[in-house]
Assembly symmetry: C2
Homo-oligomer: 282 residues x 2
């Protein structure tokens, strides 16, 4: 089938590459308001043609919205106005704003709200790779609101990407990603700023940066253009988790200040349980 990819970055680009390889996409139409991204996506063979949004929607069987969530939320109602039998999916990290934006829309059934749980700290079409997504979960939200045939197409698409589908209400999704994704990005951004603050005084410290530091600070390289709209759309959940996280950090602070080494050990032993949780997942 012909697919349109709106937003030619890491996610949209990686999807296009794999769907072409698997024969799912016979032709990929690309849409991006960044001319450099568009040209790069053409050069890299991610898309076959660059076109405007209206043409892409009219000429394709399936439309993938992989722009920042704020852009997707703005575009989605207008796209649904245009579709007939086409299928529309988005890959955004928040779901409620999108779901609310098309609630009660005449063509609501053609839209599937999804969130493939994969990403890296890199962005743009150059970051796209063929082996992205593999073995990870894809979340499909409020699936009962979508038409059966459209849902089946999207389920097949994610299977071809090597992902397994998890079904969830949009509201639950937004709470959970605040915990297992959004807060990680905030702690990483804040950790980078903590250390960069010090660097003003002392340049040599990065010589000492170990793999552990690089691991916790990796996400601080992430794109603000992508993440600002996520934090905006998921404001309340993110604030809840951020408050909880600051509370947890204060416990460590208090233990060290008061030299309560037994309780500090207990806090770390509790944190060690994350190992079982992550192992169980694999």
């Amino acid at each position: 089938m012909k697919i349109a990819v709106v937003g030619l970055g890491l996610i949209g680009g990686s999807m296009a590459l794999r769907l072409k390889q698997k024969g799912f996409a016979s032709k990929v139409l690309g849409v991006d308001n960044d001319e450099t991204h568009s040209q790069k996506a053409l050069e890299l063979g991610i898309v076959d043609e660059i076109t405007d949004l209206n043409t892409a929607v009219a000429d394709s069987d399936l439309i993938i919205l992989s722009a920042p969530v704020s852009v997707c939320t703005t575009l989605l109602p207008g796209i649904l106005d245009q579709v007939k039998q086409q299928v529309v999916l988005d890959t955004g990290s928040t779901k409620m704003s999108l779901l609310d934006a098309v609630k009660g829309h005449l063509n609501r059934g053609r839209y599937i709200a999804t969130h493939p749980m994969w990403g890296t700290e890199f962005s743009g079409p150059e970051a796209a790779t063929l082996d992205a997504f593999d073995g990870r979960a894809n979340v499909i939200c409020d699936a009962s609101e979508s038409d059966q045939d459209a849902l089946a197409t999207v389920e097949q698409l994610y299977s071809l990407l090597g992902m397994y589908n998890v079904y969830m209400g949009g509201k639950d999704h937004d709470v959970h990603v605040a915990y297992v994704s959004h807060i990680s990005h905030i702690t990483s951004f804040a950790l980078a700023n903590t250390v960069l603050e010090k660097e003003r005084e002392e340049n040599a410290i990065f010589e000492l940066a170990s793999a552990g530091f690089e691991s916790t600070v990796r996400l601080a390289k992430s794109s603000p253009a992508m993440w600002m709209p996520i934090f905006k759309q998921n404001k309340e959940n993110v604030l809840d988790v951020l408050n909880e996280h600051i509370t947890q950090l204060r416990k460590f602070k208090s233990c060290i200040e008061k030299e309560n080494w037994a309780y500090l050990t207990e806090l770390m032993e509790n944190a060690n349980k994350i190992k079982d949780v992550l192992d169980r997942k694999q």
Copy 2:
């Protein structure tokens, strides 16, 4: 030469393996107060013989202290009492407590305070690997307090591990590692506790954990037995950085609460600079 390894964990074990392979160590004597670790190290060929501390010191040319820093600090003065021409080094993550413990000691010159900037979240002799350390920095502190010949031996040892040596005062070292290592562990422990707190209510959320989450939470698997003494010995520096980090997190919180998206973007753009710093390092 004959070497003694006191503390048969990730660091001591990995060193022993590599130093034997390189022919630097003709024989490795192992010391550990954990019987299971001792037996495992023998089985894995990490050490040739298990012995008590006094025998190990008397019978070896070079002694590597790779136990938790609290244990090393307790043992070091007594070991220096015994040595003649032997060389003693430790691999601890804090340096001032050790340096203070042997200040003015008659055999101070035989001791080299080092900190190889490598580690993983795993511990014990099973975690030891032959290709640890490669390409990373090793810090040597207060080198002028050590005898020239002892220093030269230790420099050669770290070169054989594939590391490059960085020289620094012990006090500076302890400040810097608080920034580029210790705080990463605290944020990771606290992040795990934040998310585990939620898991009590909702088990499904880990299904969604992406690679980004795993990256930031990886260090939460680290050993409390190793880290409690580090936070204890580096209390003041760790508290300074922890306070700064909580301040940085509060800035994110305030931006989101007040919907100051421009400043939030600015904070993330600033954090992005960590990329240049890490790239420069490589």
